[in-house]
């Protein structure tokens, strides 16, 4: 009897509470879109993306948001605060049912006088194609010379879970950077550690190695990496890097005094290079073609003075290289900086081999500090290229294609001009990209108080399952020195490295 009374009482409370949240009857129509943050309007959404929580930036005392694709597929969020947060399961059900359809967001705002306003519906679209379900990135502060807490993390894009891949607090706050995956595969990964316990960690199918890629015939340890599709080779640039601080909008410039390209053979633990990619010019940022037959890279003229070094522009080149026979082809210029009037960096080819996305800036290659950096697209079949329509007045830089090749992520400072955030867009077969949207967060105000930058966003098809503790243990070990491939022309390399540098 008592039990029944409790149930009855609880049911009454629920009914009362529910009736308090009265349905919106009359409302005034507002003939514009509501202001929301982040901007999730007019976008294409991957069907597996986490809820796009947002803040309604309209004054009011209560908010109701109706998200729907049709009459029978809707999600309603009612909130006293302008922060609209959706349940993960109901959001995914909504997207799953509405794949390929328009997604409407109706925003109602209750005014102080108790009347409701309805804004013009936000119209988005749900893609049929999903995005790789994880994103790996480094979180760093905005400093240029020092570092403190650093970590490489992976975020599950289907929800809000972020897990560390490796944090530097586990190895005495050394530096770690340039994480790279073989074709979006979380099981083939590499990370550099620097300053303390330095080396290159290579992870393949749960097996870890720590390599010292510096050799007396190379300029430096491997820097900017790219995995060969076979998973047995990694191309690196080797660079002599310096920092220059600016007084204007470009607060810092990173430039190379000299740089070359090398290829590391994981199985043989050997490094190789060729006089064709180790010239007096500055070869940099290698990227394999999807068939693994070519290395695309950038190159800037030899440095003669500091101004050259900072203001120099990079061309886009490629060279054939057969990893099986270790035979290098000849260098071919794909886009000349003279022709384009800009400096080229970060060439990345879409997995289907059709497009090459690259950054352009006024000078140099370290584009993240250049507000004028834009993304460009080269159609490798037609040779035509264009500045992408998704660019903003702020920095739009480092990018990575998803495994299927249409979705891509890129770094952008478009929100506030200072902090780098990952944005997603869909590239169709004609080379047209959809309006980008920022990585959703559980708290939609997250980006207004988060003072770290998302560095090198890399899409991956699953979670990196190797434990951060296993990686830490490997980092703490001594690195195994990479050997020089016997085919390398050591006499040439010796004279190349000893040539006077300016």
């Amino acid at each position: 009897m008592i039990k029944k009374s409790i149930y009855l009482f609880a049911a009454l409370i629920l009914i009362t509470l529910n009736s308090c949240q009265s349905k919106i009857g009359n409302f005034a129509e507002v003939s514009r879109l509501p202001a929301i943050f982040p901007d999730y309007t007019d976008i294409l959404i991957p069907p597996n993306m986490a809820p796009l929580n947002f803040t309604v930036q309209e004054p009011g005392t209560e908010y109701e948001v109706r998200i729907h694709t049709g009459e029978d597929n809707r999600l309603v969020v009612r909130s006293k605060s302008p922060s609209i947060q959706m349940g993960i399961n109901s959001w995914h059900n909504l997207l799953k049912k509405g794949m390929g359809e328009k997604l409407f967001i109706d925003v109602f705002v209750r005014q102080k006088d108790g009347n409701w306003q309805k804004f013009q519906p936000i119209t988005n679209e749900i893609s049929k194609e999903g995005i790789d379900n994880h994103l790996a990135y480094r979180l760093i502060n905005t400093a240029y010379g020092v570092w403190n807490n650093l970590g490489i993390y992976q975020r599950n894009l289907e929800n809000f879970d972020q897990k560390p891949i490796l944090e530097n607090k586990s190895f005495e706050y050394g530096c770690l950077n340039c994480h790279s995956f073989r074709h979006n595969d979380p099981n083939s990964m590499m990370i550099h550690t620097r300053a303390i316990h330095g080396g290159t960690i290579i992870i393949q199918d749960g097996k870890l190695r720590k390599i010292d890629t510096k050799n007396k015939y190379t300029l430096s340890a491997g820097t900017y990496p790219c995995w060969h599709p076979d998973g047995k080779h990694i191309a690196y640039s080797v660079n002599k890097i310096n920092w220059h601080f600016g007084t204007g909008e470009t607060r810092m410039e990173v430039s190379d005094e000299y740089s070359d390209i090398v290829v590391y053979d994981i199985e043989k633990n050997t490094l190789t290079t060729s006089p064709k990619v180790s010239t007096a010019s500055r070869e940099n940022l290698p990227n394999w073609s999807p068939d693994g037959k070519f290395i695309y890279f950038t190159s800037a003229p030899v440095v003669t003075n500091l101004d050259d070094r900072i203001q120099g522009k990079y061309d886009l080149l490629r060279i054939a290289y057969d990893v099986n026979t270790n035979v290098w082809g000849s260098v071919d210029t794909i886009i000349s900086s003279r022709e384009i009037g800009k400096s080229i960096s970060f060439p990345k080819i879409s997995p289907n081999g059709k497009f090459l996305m690259f950054c352009t800036s006024d000078n140099g290659y370290f584009t993240i500090h250049h507000p004028q950096t834009d993304l460009n697209l080269l159609n490798l079949e037609t040779g035509e290229y264009h500045k992408m329509e998704i660019n903003s007045p702020q920095t739009d830089s480092y990018h990575c294609f998803s495994d299927a090749g249409h979705w891509f992520v890129f770094s952008s400072k478009r929100i506030d001009g200072l902090f780098t955030r990952p944005f997603f867009s869909y590239l169709d077969d004609s080379g047209k990209a959809t309006k980008p949207f920022v990585l959703p967060q559980e708290d939609p105000e997250f980006y207004n108080t988060f003072l770290k930058n998302y560095n090198i966003p890399e899409l991956i098809t699953g979670e990196v399952t190797v434990s951060p503790l296993d990686i830490r243990d490997k980092v703490l070990e001594t690195a195994v020195a990479a050997k020089l491939d016997p085919s390398v022309d050591t006499l040439y390399m010796k004279s190349h490295l000893s040539a006077p540098k300016k």
Binding site: V146, T247, R251, G417, L451
Partner: protein
């Protein structure tokens, strides 16, 4: 009147609590801890999450919450005293349960209390070490209570308490807990079987360490077992010394002593025969004076006072305190106080030099009083080279560039500082101001939103949040408006200090501080032609007469070139100055140019002149740059 032991020792404890509070407030000054460590505590889950991912993080979080109140010197001292005394009282209770009535109750309390305060005499001391230890005391007390009632249950509960304590307060606290509880368990339970708790506790504690490191936490082994953690920034790198080791060892130490004492059979202290009493009076046994409570307690009190004085004198570095005070006064722009206080520091220090120059510049008398402080490092005392100082000079450098109106450089060093001290409200405030000057209101708003989560910054945030929503307020703010006019717009790379100062002055000729610094740079670097080149702009500032150091430098230039620069009028340089320079040269000549011989007399009459600097203090002469002093 008969004084009971308990009451008397309580009275003495109260006395030392008050003395401790006074010492903490006046000698240690928690405000300086707050300022030096730039303590910042923020509400919200994100901030807590940072502390929840490593053993000891929760104690660090609590310590962060408490130590933010160090901003208020008296209240901060009260917190320090409260935490130290809670530890003392917990220890007393543990020992009482363990051994019955305590004879040296006062000493036990006083030693723990003293150490709890003494550790703070190092301004890099991380306060979480005290809170971690407090948790160890609480857990030990909990175990003692349970063990005294349910001994077997306490053994089963021990691993749970140990694991929880390890997570809350890290390895060193676990060590204190394990050692203390092992002694308590053996002492409270007389059977020999209880001796097994020693290997059992040790094994379990080791297992917690091992599994924590190997399977759970991304942390170095050293940070897992150390009393304090080794982590950036370098300027706050605390080196554990004897006080902190004693602080952590004192509870198990006392337990061990008492336990050993209890092993010996007790001998009754026989009172002396009672004196013959008068009729009707009770006979009172005569107690030897050294067994009297008052005597014993007074001896303990005297010993405590002497020990406290000796230890504070030994471990409290007054020079460090003074240097931090200088930095604190600069942070709060108390320039006149800074100059006054700097006189109390007899030893040269480049940080004092840097801030004294800044103070003079703010008060408008840098060119007049430049050499009132010995400029032993030349231009390195004017601008600290932050690249060689790994962090400790980032904030002052950012502040100086902000003063000068160079927002790009100020922001650069503020970001470097923010990386090392991400919770520092001072740095976030600097970033807000820079972005308001740069008209980047959205970014200013973002930093303000972070600061708004700090309890102590609410008023400041409230003031400047209005600037973000109403930009006319920013435009009419005198400081912001001035910096907007002064900040350079030209895009240049690798601008050095000198080029930066030139750029500032070329950007806006009204920038008097940049002008003063530019001329001072030339003076300290003995670049006389360049000094004269820029000196000609002095008339822009409506100066009727040149300030002292400019006059003195100009006099040297005139002597060297044997000509007056065209812009120099009769009234530009005073006759007194020229006469004094002639006198100065006469003295040098009278010693036949033997400079070491002439130094003493020249120092007496011209020690605060450019001429003396040129001959004796200029680092180009002394080569002292390799022996910079360090605040540490």
């Amino acid at each position: 009147m008969k004084l009971k032991l308990f009451n008397l020792s309580s009275l003495y404890i109260l006395l030392i609590l008050l003395a401790g509070w006074y010492a903490a407030a006046s000698v240690i000054q928690p405000l300086l801890h707050f300022s030096f460590q730039q303590i910042g505590f923020y509400s919200g889950w994100e901030f807590l999450a940072n502390y929840s991912s490593y053993p000891g993080g929760i104690a660090d979080y609590l310590a962060g919450y408490l130590s933010q109140f160090f901003a208020f010197n008296t209240f901060g001292s009260f917190i320090i005293v409260a935490v130290a005394s809670i530890q003392g009282f917990i220890a007393l209770d543990i020992l009482k349960r363990f051994s019955g009535e305590l004879k040296f109750r006062f000493t036990v309390f006083a030693v723990i209390f003293l150490l709890g305060i003494l550790v703070l005499s190092d301004y890099r001391y991380p306060y979480y070490a005290s809170i971690r230890l407090l948790l160890a005391y609480l857990f030990t007390w909990g175990f003692t209570v349970i063990n005294s009632r349910w001994p077997k249950a306490s053994i089963l509960l021990w691993p749970v308490l140990a694991a929880l304590l390890f997570y809350l307060a890290s390895g060193s606290s676990l060590f204190v807990f394990a050692l203390s509880t092992a002694i308590i368990a053996i002492a409270q339970n007389k059977q020999r079987i209880w001796l097994l708790v020693i290997p059992a506790f040790a094994a379990f504690a080791a297992l917690i360490f091992y599994s924590g490191y190997q399977f759970i936490f991304q942390i170095t082994l050293k940070n897992l077992y150390g009393i304090t953690m080794v982590r950036p920034p370098e300027q706050l790198a605390y080196t554990p010394g004897l006080p902190i080791y004693a602080y952590y060892a004192v509870l198990p130490g006392f337990l061990m002593i008492v336990w050993i004492y209890l092993q010996f059979p007790k001998s009754e202290v026989l009172p002396e025969p009672a004196a013959k009493s008068k009729k009707g009076e009770k006979a009172v046994a005569k107690i030897r004076f050294y067994n009297k409570d008052l005597f014993l307690l007074s001896i303990q009190l005297i010993a405590f006072v002497l020990l406290g004085y000796f230890l504070l004198d030994k471990y409290h570095d007054t020079l460090k305190k003074k240097l931090i005070t200088i930095e604190y006064l600069a942070e709060n722009e108390q320039w006149a106080d800074l100059l006054n206080y700097s006189k109390s520091i007899e030893k040269y220090d480049f940080r004092v030099n840097f801030q004294v120059n800044r103070a003079h510049a703010h008060l408008g008398d840098l060119p007049e009083r430049l050499f009132s402080y010995p400029q032993l490092l030349g231009i390195s005392g004017l601008f600290i080279d932050p690249t060689t100082m790994v962090g400790s000079s980032f904030v002052p450098t950012s502040d100086l560039y902000f003063d000068l109106g160079f927002m790009g450089e100020s922001q650069r060093w503020a970001f470097e500082a923010e990386t090392l001290l991400p919770n520092s409200p001072r740095i976030l405030k600097r970033l807000v101001m820079i972005n308001l000057v740069n008209r980047k209101y959205q970014l200013a708003g973002q930093f303000l939103k972070v600061l708004d989560k700090n309890l102590l910054c609410r008023d400041w945030v409230s003031k400047y949040s209005k600037y973000v929503s109403d930009t006319t307020l920013a435009a009419s703010d005198k400081l912001i408006a001035e910096k907007r006019r002064f900040t350079p717009k030209t895009e240049l790379y690798n601008v050095g200090t000198l080029q930066g100062l030139r750029l500032l002055f070329d950007t806006n000729r009204d920038n008097r501080m940049a002008y003063d610094y530019l001329l001072t740079f030339f003076i300290l670097d003995s670049q006389l032609p360049q000094f004269v080149e820029y000196l000609q702009y002095y008339s822009h500032f409506n100066l009727k007469k040149l300030p002292r150091t400019w006059e003195e430098t100009l006099a040297v230039y005139i002597m060297k070139t044997k000509a007056f620069p065209s812009f120099v009028k009769e009234e530009t340089i005073s006759k007194t100055c020229l006469q004094q320079f002639t006198e100065f040269n006469k003295v040098v000549r009278s010693y036949k140019n033997d400079l070491p011989a002439a130094q003493s007399i020249l120092h007496r009459d011209y020690g605060d002149s450019f001429w003396y600097y040129l001959l004796y203090l200029n680092p180009k002469v002394t080569n002292v740059l390799k022996t910079k002093t360090d605040v540490r």
